[in-house]
């Protein structure tokens, strides 16, 4: 495939018809209380590629942005309520609920989502929130795994995410996690599919431009899991990765695969410093 021609087409289609450029200047405060950092200096490992990093919230229309500013406007919170019920519900052969070991979610899970994905010494691998939750379910509760991108899991991820809202994303990229992080970085910059597009082609080289009628963001995941207006439900990071890779017309990786775990760690680290917004509202 002729790279130059393809890149030219992407560039023309991505050129704004109306003069929309870059993220807007709005500030996000949730419930008149939680001040979110939606713009900050790019972390050190990224500073040769980007100066500033922006939350996806800054690229959405005013109407979409306002849906996230109050927990009773944000539809994601009804699923957080459901997950709170699930947190207290016994499930599995061991007769335990999450609360049996973890107590109240707002105490035990405070700050947790902000540092995930992270290395688990016990498991000898990088864990995402989802793989860690399923590990607890299977090995501690004797319960069945939840589908990686299913509603139950996304809701639980959202409940845990709420307990880190407003805190800066801070995933470790060194030490035992480094090898996984390097692998994720490689995937981020690899072109996939018939359209031969890498994550960076859109989200690093063209953020702020329009792709069709969509205002391209930097592809940060500080807002995940996110309630998408498009499917009116919570979506977690691997569900989004799968969709993006599929949209390059490639055979996509599976949610929970080592590739996506590595990619999630890398993409999360590109947002180090932005506030955890999850569950957010996006298009």
């Amino acid at each position: 495939m002729n790279f130059k021609a393809l890149t030219a087409i992407v560039a023309v289609v991505a050129t704004p018809l109306s003069a929309v450029a870059g993220p807007d200047e709005d500030a996000l405060v949730v419930n008149e209380e939680i001040e979110m950092v939606t713009q900050t200096a790019a972390p050190a490992h990224l500073s040769d590629a980007l100066d500033e990093i922006y939350s996806g919230w800054r690229f959405r229309s005013d109407e979409t942005q306002s849906l996230q500013m109050d927990d009773f406007d944000n539809p994601a919170l009804v699923f957080v309520d459901q997950a709170q019920d699930a947190w207290d519900t016994v499930d599995g052969t061991e007769g335990k609920s999450c609360s049996t070991c973890h107590g109240a979610v707002d105490e035990s899970m405070a700050g947790v989502r902000a540092v995930y994905p992270k290395w688990s010494d016990e498991a000898g691998e990088v864990r995402t929130l989802v793989t860690q939750i399923n590990d607890c379910r299977v090995n501690q509760m004797g319960a069945e795994k939840w589908k990686y991108t299913g509603g139950d899991m996304a809701a639980m991820e959202a409940l845990i995410s709420v307990q880190s809202r407003g805190l800066p994303v801070n995933v470790a990229i060194d030490g035992p996690a480094q090898e996984t992080w390097e692998k994720g970085k490689e995937i981020y910059y690899t072109r996939y599919g018939q359209l031969e597009l890498s994550c960076a082609n859109c989200h690093e080289q063209n953020y702020g431009n329009m792709i069709r009628a969509d205002h391209l963001s930097q592809g940060q995941i500080n807002g995940f899991p996110t309630y998408r207006l498009k499917n009116a439900k919570l979506n977690n990071a691997h569900a989004r990765f799968k969709g993006c890779v599929r949209d390059t017309r490639a055979e996509t990786f599976s949610p929970g695969s080592p590739e996506f775990v590595a990619l999630e760690l890398y993409v999360a680290s590109r947002g180090n410093g932005l506030s955890v917004e999850g569950p957010s509202v996006r298009n």
Binding site: V12, R212, A213, N283
Partner: protein, 138 residues
């Protein structure tokens, strides 16, 4: 494969035109209005319909309707396969006759709000909402 300038320009214009879903209109909307108003005239003004100019996604479009003193406001999406959206009936304890909700729009179209006012007369407002396709289809 080599692209001539003509090819590239044609592709780009075509792609740009594809970002906005075509305008739709539906005759059933007229019937629904006639049923609600009994064929009475509708004044302009007296009811406000607030909707985004461009909907970020047609699946969830926030709108607001307001008609001081109204008994009811009917909202229609004239370009949807079925135009009915909602009818808001205000009771004695409604502090103001306005309400917000989120609706589905199948394509670019006029959204219409008809208010039945306290004196039995009717008022109409409409807003054109552009419904877009985003991203790479994902």
């Amino acid at each position: 494969m080599e692209f001539t300038r003509r090819d590239t320009l044609g592709l780009a214009l075509g792609a740009a035109a594809l970002t906005v879903l075509p305008f739709r209109a539906n005759a059933a909307a007229e019937d629904a209005i006639a049923e609600f108003t009994g064929g009475a005239d509708m004044a302009e003004g007296g009811v406000t319909l607030t909707a985004p100019e461009i909907a970020e996604n047609g699946n969830t479009v926030p709108i607001e309707v307001s008609a001081p003193g109204a008994a009811a406001i009917m909202v229609l999406a004239t370009g949807n396969p079925e135009p009915g959206v909602a009818t808001f009936n205000f009771g004695p304890l409604a502090a103001v006759q306005s309400a917000s909700t989120r609706i589905r729009l199948a394509g670019t179209q006029d959204v219409v709000a008809i208010a039945k006012l306290a004196d039995g007369s009717f008022a109409k407002a409409s807003a054109t909402v552009k419904v877009t396709i985003g991203g790479c289809g994902g």
